[in-house]
Structures are given as C-alpha cells and as structure tokens.
Symmetry: C2
Subunit: 141 residues, 2 copies
C-alpha cells in the first residue's frame, strides 16, 4: 500500500499542476483544500522541492509551484521519493537494494517471481506521469 505521505504528495502535485500558470500557491491553501495537516504537508512539499519537482518562493506572495511539466513527472519517481522501494523484496529493488539474509540470490526462485512483479509494475509506473492522473476536463452537454 502507498503511504499517506505519497498519496498526499500526489494530491498536492495534482493541485499544483492544475494551477501551474497561477504563480506560487500557499501550503495553507493546499492543506485546506485537500484536507491535509499543514505541518505534515510542509515536509512533503519540501521533499518534492529538494527533488527538483517543485519550486518555492518565500515571503509575501510566496508559495509552491510545479517546475516540471506534468508529463515529465513519472509516478514511480514520486512513489520512490516518498514511499521508498517499489519492489516487494529488498533483494530485487533497483533503487533500494539490500541483500536478503534468507535467500541465495543465484538460486532463490521467489526472487525471480518478485523480479517479474517489479518489472511489470515498473512498466506501468515509469510510463505514467502526473499528466495522466489529472482530472479529466468537464465536457459541457
């Protein structure tokens, strides 16, 4: 399961993507609109900024804004940043690899299955971006 942190991050990113031309948006506004604890959201937005996805401006008229195009922010990037590994076992994680003490990697069959799961998951999460999860435009009747 994705953590709340990741889900909050995605919600905030959607909010900012929808207002990309409106200049800096207040943390407070996002936290109110999306019902996310403001202090918690601060940390999340900061991480997204440090990762180069968001920009920020301090002081009056400040706030956060998307500095990438929505189609350039992959879901896997956000998930890894806030949630950590995508893989189901540390020993098959590409970005957070750790040897597992219980399996011999050369022969462990579970590892092979989990590597397949990872690959199929990545196939999807690497190609889908923020743009793909923006709400569909309303069509008037």
């Amino acid at each position: 399961m994705l953590s709340k942190k990741t889900r909050y991050a995605l919600q905030a990113l959607i909010y900012l993507a929808e207002r990309q031309d409106q200049g800096p948006i207040l943390i407070h506004e996002i936290s109110t609109e999306k019902q996310i604890s403001k202090k918690f959201l601060e940390n999340i937005l900061l991480e997204l900024r440090k990762a180069g996805i968001l920009g920020s401006k301090k002081g009056k008229g400040g706030g956060y804004y998307l500095i990438k195009q929505p189609e350039d922010v992959t879901l896997v990037r956000v998930i890894r940043l806030l949630d950590g590994p995508v893989a189901l076992l540390p020993c098959v994680s590409l970005n957070y690899y750790e040897k597992c003490d219980d399996c011999d990697e050369a022969t462990c069959q579970l590892r092979k299955v989990m590597a397949e799961v990872r690959d199929e998951t990545l196939k999807i999460l690497r190609t889908r971006t923020l743009k793909d999860i923006l709400p569909p435009k309303e069509v008037s009747s």
Copy 2:
C-alpha cells in the same frame, strides 16, 4: 514490501513442502533451521493452518505438515493471508476494499493506473505457486 511475517511463512512452507512425505515437522525444527523466532513462527503456522494450508498434530510425534499440494498453494493466497492487500490503494483492492476519502472513484485517474498495477501483479501472483519457488533440484556432474 512483503512483511517478515509473509517471508517467514513462505520459508516455512518451502521447508514443509520439501518434507511433505515425512509426517509432522516440529515448529522448533523449522525455527532453528530457518532462524525464525519460535514464538513468532507459532502464530504464523497457526494462521496457515486456520486457512487450510497446513495441518497439525498435537502431542508427542506431533508437528505441522502441508495438506495441500505445493502447486495448489498460490503466492497471492499466502501474501493476502499474512500481509493483507496486494493493491497499492485501498479503493482498488479486491479482497480488502475500502473507499478512499480523497478520490471520486468514477473519475479518479490514479485509481485506474493502480488498478492496472494490481491486475499485472495478480496475473503473476495468482499463477505462481509454492511449487514454483521450491529450490531447484541439484544436478550431479
């Protein structure tokens, strides 16, 4: 990531599958061989028994044994039992569904992506069984 509980369960199942013809195996033996806390393992084996995957016998000469054929124990079954949902969001979980408070299911685009991830993951985990993760037979030279 799979929990230790699930990983311990899989290890224990492998151990028992390899000894399916040897009658009941002691918890103590599995815990020693696989380096798993005995008391913790007790709980796990009990869950597997209640789920109808293992059988047990009390008293002298007792222990646990596999009551299904390894090819009939899917990985998804074990994972769901010990770990819970396979899906990355509660609102796309087939077995542990919960409405999410932050998305409108009809239009939420993230939900669609996560449903795809779930489907691809299930494609693999539903077809792979305990038999598939047993160690390969040694081939003499």
